[in-house]
């Protein structure tokens, strides 16, 4: 099934890739290419794997994740994603989906969260996390973001996220805002969402996690932010670190009311 989806995507790419068209036709060509891709999104395979992993007894304690509270009560998956990051009383932290899954995997299944956080993307338990974020985010597909900001901790994370978003440093002087601070801009042909305001349904924050056609991988927001920081020429942000959660809170609150299409498909 995966092979079929990929073959279809490649055929679509061959038809729709703009090649030497004039600039005016380029954006249309890319939009058409993306629309064709969305028709056979291989993220479904990660969603299915994630559902199995959620229900499967695993880890040193041999229990499932069905007792995991993602913010809507133990085991409730639907609607959880569009209200994250949020504050959790048991960990006394504001957590995004990936950070929260790690907490559950440690507290309930007996995994070592620090060890998993230090595992490179695309290996070991990180592969299972990809599937889990696909499953959990898919259960909120079509729902609108409504991150809670009632608690002081949640508002503080938003304020910290805003400061981190505009933080310029490194040999290139880049911040998140260098690429995502204005509407209608591109890097090469890649359109850039303006993340300082609400970029709209299924755009920016509302498009991740996503299946990446170029690498054949499912990327969660953690991996997306990690690669942004790589290209910002920054040092390496820790997996599920507070800086990444603060940024997610900032982007998520800016996207309040937008419809999540995650897991989406990207080039």
């Amino acid at each position: 099934m995966r092979r079929r989806a990929l073959a279809f995507a490649l055929v679509a790419a061959a038809f729709a890739w703009p090649g030497a068209q004039a600039q005016t036709g380029t954006a249309d060509g890319i939009a058409q290419y993306r629309a064709l891709l969305a028709d056979g999104n291989p993220a479904e395979l990660w969603e299915a794997k994630g559902e199995l992993l959620w229900k499967q007894k695993r880890g040193p304690k041999n229990v499932s994740l069905e007792g995991c509270d993602l913010g809507q009560g133990a085991g409730v998956v639907k609607g959880a994603f569009v209200e994250l990051p949020r504050y959790f009383a048991d960990t006394k932290r504001v957590q995004d989906l990936e950070s929260r899954l790690l907490s559950c995997m440690e507290a309930q299944q007996g995994f070592n969260a620090a060890e998993i956080a230090a595992t490179p993307f695309g290996r070991g338990e990180q592969l299972n996390l990809e599937a889990l974020v696909a499953y959990v985010s898919a259960a909120s597909r079509g729902m609108k973001f409504r991150l809670p900001q009632a608690r002081a901790e949640e508002r503080q994370m938003f304020e910290a996220g805003k400061r981190i978003f505009y933080f310029r440093a490194g040999p290139y002087d880049f911040s998140c805002a260098s690429c995502h601070g204005e509407a209608g801009k591109r890097i090469r042909l890649q359109e850039l969402p303006d993340l300082t305001r609400n970029p709209g349904d299924g755009v920016g924050y509302a498009a991740w996690p996503a299946y990446r056609l170029s690498s054949g991988e499912l990327w969660g927001m953690q991996r997306r932010l990690n690669d942004c920081y790589r290209q910002q020429r920054f040092p390496f942000p820790g997996y599920a670190s507070d800086a990444t959660i603060a940024l997610a809170t900032f982007m998520g609150v800016k996207s309040q009311g937008s419809v999540s299409i995650a897991p989406s498909i990207k080039r």
Binding site: F167, A169, Y172, P235, G238, S241, D242
Partner: protein, 212 residues
């Protein structure tokens, strides 16, 4: 009784206020610094000292740009530090410049140490007409030299434009304090020789950027 009720409500509100008193901006700055410090680690050539901001980076990290007075002062300091080309040679080879303009590699944690960086130009600018995959964060530089009347880069009349362009490439902040463009010479991203080649791409009448 009404007074008592009002008083107790006021106290409750005060207590609630104490419990959830919003942090002041300096407290939030401090919280953010702590988060940044705890969240990043060194990887490959991307060392933690990259998070230490210089004065300009700090001034340009707000939601709003600094005041005109601050921006002017920062620009003057950046301009004073520009290193002008040795022997007054401003232009190199536009062919090498085009390769650099296409090249977006360098300085990430996945890049090996010691490999020269590219110029990243097409990521943000239009240059030669043949390259349709260009970004739009910066202005179009197609016809850069022609539009600025540089028909003979060696002519004295061209000198001012050569110096202005060199200044932009060496340190874009010398003329625009919070420009999105990296300070290629200042930050040691590109060598003087590489900047000469980019100068040629922009200003040599034979460069495809200036093709009629």
């Amino acid at each position: 009784m009404k007074t008592t009720r009002t008083t107790s409500l006021a106290i409750a509100a005060l207590l609630a206020g104490c419990a959830t008193a919003p942090m002041t901006p300096p407290e939030l700055d401090q919280l953010t610094q702590g988060i940044m410090k705890a969240s990043f680690r060194e990887q490959g050539i991307a060392t933690l000292d990259r998070l230490a901001q210089d004065e300009l980076q700090q001034a340009c990290s707000g939601e709003k740009p600094p005041s005109d007075a601050v921006a002017k002062r920062l620009e003057a300091a950046q301009l004073a530090s520009v290193r002008w080309p040795a022997d007054d040679v401003y232009l190199g080879d536009w062919r090498e410049g085009e390769k650099l303009a296409q090249n977006g590699r360098g300085m990430t944690w996945s890049d090996p140490a010691g490999v020269p960086s590219g110029g990243n130009c097409y990521n943000c600018h239009q240059l030669a007409k043949a390259e349709i995959s260009f970004g739009t964060i910066g202005p179009s530089l197609y016809q850069y030299g022609r539009l600025r009347g540089v028909s003979d880069p060696a002519a004295p009349a061209s000198r001012e434009m050569l110096r202005y362009t060199w200044g932009k490439l060496w340190n874009a902040k010398a003329t625009n304090a919070c420009s999105n463009m990296p300070r290629f010479g200042h930050a040691g991203v590109l060598s003087a020789g590489q900047i000469r080649d980019l100068m040629a791409l922009l200003l040599d009448p034979a460069s495809p950027v200036n093709a009629p």
